[in-house]
């Protein structure tokens, strides 16, 4: 798992297990495993995100950047992080924060069910957050199912 997991800072009213369960309910995992009879937990996408405590009750994107910079780079992928905040429990969205040189590069509000898809692509620079922002268009929240 080393190096393939990004931090999900949880400052929401949801507990970590509930938060991850909603993210992992993504149909993206099912599509990736199409035809595979093994359990979803065995998907290589299952641990793209792991919860860590938020640096404070209402972190800004820069707080997230600073907290991410303190993580062990051998264990974590640190070019992208996610913030679950007070809005998350209300509309199932989180804030994806793309980072560059320890600073906030881009942010995008993303549906929990699409966050694994976005993060795994940004991790590998297969698709930068800019392309998802363009894909989102005028929508306030990116949702690949829309």
């Amino acid at each position: 798992m080393a190096g393939n997991t990004s931090p999900l800072f949880n400052a929401s009213s949801l507990d970590d297990a509930e938060l991850l369960a909603r993210a992992r309910a993504s149909s993206f995992i099912d599509e990736s495993m199409a035809g595979d009879e093994s359990s979803r937990e065995e998907s290589g996408l299952w641990n793209v995100l792991r919860c860590v405590p938020a640096p404070n009750d209402a972190p800004t994107p820069q707080h997230i950047a600073d907290a991410t910079a303190k993580l062990d780079a051998q264990e974590w992928t640190t070019n992208v992080a996610v913030l679950a905040d007070e809005r998350t429990a209300k509309d199932d969205s989180v804030l994806v924060v793309a980072l560059k040189d320890g600073k906030v590069h881009k942010t995008m509000r993303t549906a929990l069910a699409s966050v694994i898809e976005v993060v795994c692509n940004v991790q590998l620079a297969n698709m930068p957050l800019e392309e998802y922002i363009e894909w989102k268009g005028d929508a306030e929240v990116f949702d690949s199912r829309a």
């Binding site: 199409a34 035809g35 795994c120 620079a125 392309e131 363009e134 690949s144």
Partner: protein, 215 residues
């Protein structure tokens, strides 16, 4: 005298080196991605064995036509995302990569396949792996002409300016235990090198599938 542990370790290392993991892209889900990859491999001679180098990924993407804002930005939805081969997350990526404007959904799927493959097969930075394709029949660049239909773009560095008129790789067909087939490409200069794939596995749709025969 070498200890038994040393000998066992050496034997394991030799086996591992001979059987690099193989990611298989299902071209029925990502046809435009497969077209770009096949073009790069068959028509430009790009390698099918890649070395993961994720720390280099963003710099690699910035070194070719996929840099942001990329040439696909603003295109219709069937071609608004920039795909590159060799992948940005490999040592072979970057300048000279073959790029193609593809649907965002396809590019996003490809990233999921690659990410999952890296994790499931413990492909760490510095590790090599191979690339294969399933359901590629009918895709021009995976078996047919290398004539550029206009969708491919390669940065015009001298080393890459000369597009190959004839392929320098040959197509090999892997028969899988699942009953499916996968394509791999073998350098003409190393005929038979893919015969080693028999009884090895390829990663297809997050499943390790055994190779029954190589044709």
């Amino acid at each position: 005298m070498l200890s038994l542990r040393t000998l066992l370790f050496a034997a394991l290392a030799a086996v591992t080196a001979a059987s690099a993991a193989t990611v298989t892209f299902d071209c029925s889900r990502v046809p435009n991605i497969c077209s770009n990859d096949c073009y790069a491999i068959r028509c430009l001679g790009k390698p099918t064995t890649l070395t993961r180098n994720s720390p280099q990924a963003e710099d690699n993407r910035d070194a070719n036509a996929c840099r942001s804002p990329n040439r696909c930005s603003g295109n219709p939805s069937d071609s608004n995302s920039c795909d590159e081969y060799p992948f940005a997350s490999t040592s072979q990526g970057g300048a000279g990569a073959s790029t193609r404007c593809v649907p965002s959904q396809e590019n996003s799927r490809q990233g999921g396949t690659l990410s999952s493959f890296y994790t499931r097969n413990s492909v760490a930075n510095g590790d090599s792996y191979s690339v294969a394709f399933s359901n590629a029949s009918g895709l021009q660049y995976c078996s047919g002409s290398c004539t550029n239909s206009g969708n491919q773009l390669v940065r015009r560095l001298p080393a890459f300016a000369a597009r190959q008129e004839t392929s320098i790789v040959q197509t090999r067909k892997l028969l899988l235990a699942s009953g499916e087939e996968a394509l791999m490409f073998e350098p003409v200069s190393a005929r038979g090198s893919l015969n080693r794939m028999v009884n090895q596995t390829v990663d297809l749709r997050e499943e390790a599938v055994r190779v029954v025969a190589v044709l």
